[in-house]
Symmetry: C2
Subunit: 313 residues, 2 copies
Amino acid sequence: MTDTGFREIRASVPVLITESESSSLIDEELALRAAREAFVASTTGTAFPVVIGHASANRFTLKSGSAGDLVGVKVGSYWPGNVEIPRHNSTIVLLSPETGRLAAVVEAGTANAYRTAAADALAVDALARSDARTLTVIGTGNQALYEVRAVARVRPIDKVLVVGRRPEAASELARAVIDYTGLPAEPAEAQTAVGAADIVVTATTARAPLFDAAWITPGTHISAMGADGPGKQELPPELYHRARLFCDLPDQSSAIGEFQHAGSAVLTPLGAVLTGAAEGRRSPEDITVFDSSGFALQDLTLAAALLRRHHDS
Amino acid sequence: MTDTGFREIRASVPVLITESESSSLIDEELALRAAREAFVASTTGTAFPVVIGHASANRFTLKSGSAGDLVGVKVGSYWPGNVEIPRHNSTIVLLSPETGRLAAVVEAGTANAYRTAAADALAVDALARSDARTLTVIGTGNQALYEVRAVARVRPIDKVLVVGRRPEAASELARAVIDYTGLPAEPAEAQTAVGAADIVVTATTARAPLFDAAWITPGTHISAMGADGPGKQELPPELYHRARLFCDLPDQSSAIGEFQHAGSAVLTPLGAVLTGAAEGRRSPEDITVFDSSGFALQDLTLAAALLRRHHDS
């Protein structure tokens, strides 16, 4: 399923790609290509049950899967006490499909931020109106800037509104958006920002809706990036009766993603939209919602792509 | 602290210990010490749900846990088509308890064989009669010789009987036992060998009992090393009404270990015997059974011990 050469570049000695190398190898184009590959593979590959482990106040998740010649696991860590380094980190383990032995280990803290944002960009590219120009981002954590950059590559964004609980954090992110993307950006109140948005991206650890369903105008696309465990929630369920719902893996999204709050609503996998098996947006008035709960094939295709770039460089 | 922007991730570079290094660092003493540490830690540490994944005919398991300053996961692989290298392989990932980032990756195929045999030796040391001299091993796979060597370190074994479905494989293992341990060893029929045994070790992938319960004489200790998944079975359940049952993790042993066939029998964790919280053997006539289903802390203590030796060497 990988386009080039995973087989040839597997050595008998495993490859370790450190954080500093992976963060210099990664870019948005690689991440987007790997994401597309993963979402297409998700329609035929296999994801195994997610493990959520803990070590005192810290948490880790294991997401494993196999598809084509990729088999492995991503260890995601969330250490809330981290100060100097991000609280989220990520390690991807690829096994040799031929022997089951370790093929590569990729530290992918920064790369993981690109990978998550790439899923958002893929969803936006498939589902948002092609003339979407105003992007509202809710959440001012480490992930937010990656989301803005990824989305701005696939739509003609000309205004970024930033919503955060802490005004100074929202101002800081708005400044970072200006610095890193050149786009006009400003902090805004939730109601104003949501009402003005063509695209809303939520990237928080919230456990309750971040806005009122009535504020969403027809034609808006919403990407909910945050929910990845029981009890987490970013969106108002009142939205769902007038929206079309998409996600990465329906079973997982219903269990630990945003759509654990969507009752029996119909969930369409984004992979099926990408392969043409399901419809995406049907009219400029559609409200589309994409939930990203995250799946191993995203990590495996990302690691394989980084490995190819490692060998080529 | 700022939450926005592209943060430099300051690298403390993770350690990769390859198979060739770990197989030269490992020995029985290190493995036994790590096993003891793991079983004691099992009384207070945490094991998370086991994932059993697959990639076509191949299978992998994820076992994760945390205890004290250890947190991580072992990826065990079983690739039945491997010919030149063992079908079982093992990769251990240790996270930094302080940051959640990757601390070390240890390829531990050979080391895993020592680790599994060390659990057996620990059980034998805690449960078998101190005058146990005749060891019967059932199964002639890669693991068997490690079991014999580990058990012979903790009891005055003076005779090894080898039971296998294929006579030539049993003869070959008997020769290997002689070569590697200097102990007298010979192939034997199951009934004879089980009846003569002070200690029986089973190390197979069986899915049905390997011997008749009536053949086991009073005072025997049995270590069942093989069962690690639904449907696997090495021992006759008729044995259980006259035996005392021990295992690594009772919940796991009942779910995917040998004791999935033990009904509601009382299972005592070996860790509790080691800490003195539970009784082991009570008389020379006791029949004791130990089931090893395998748990992550064994792998984490093993990897940590290998890492210490790597840094010292």
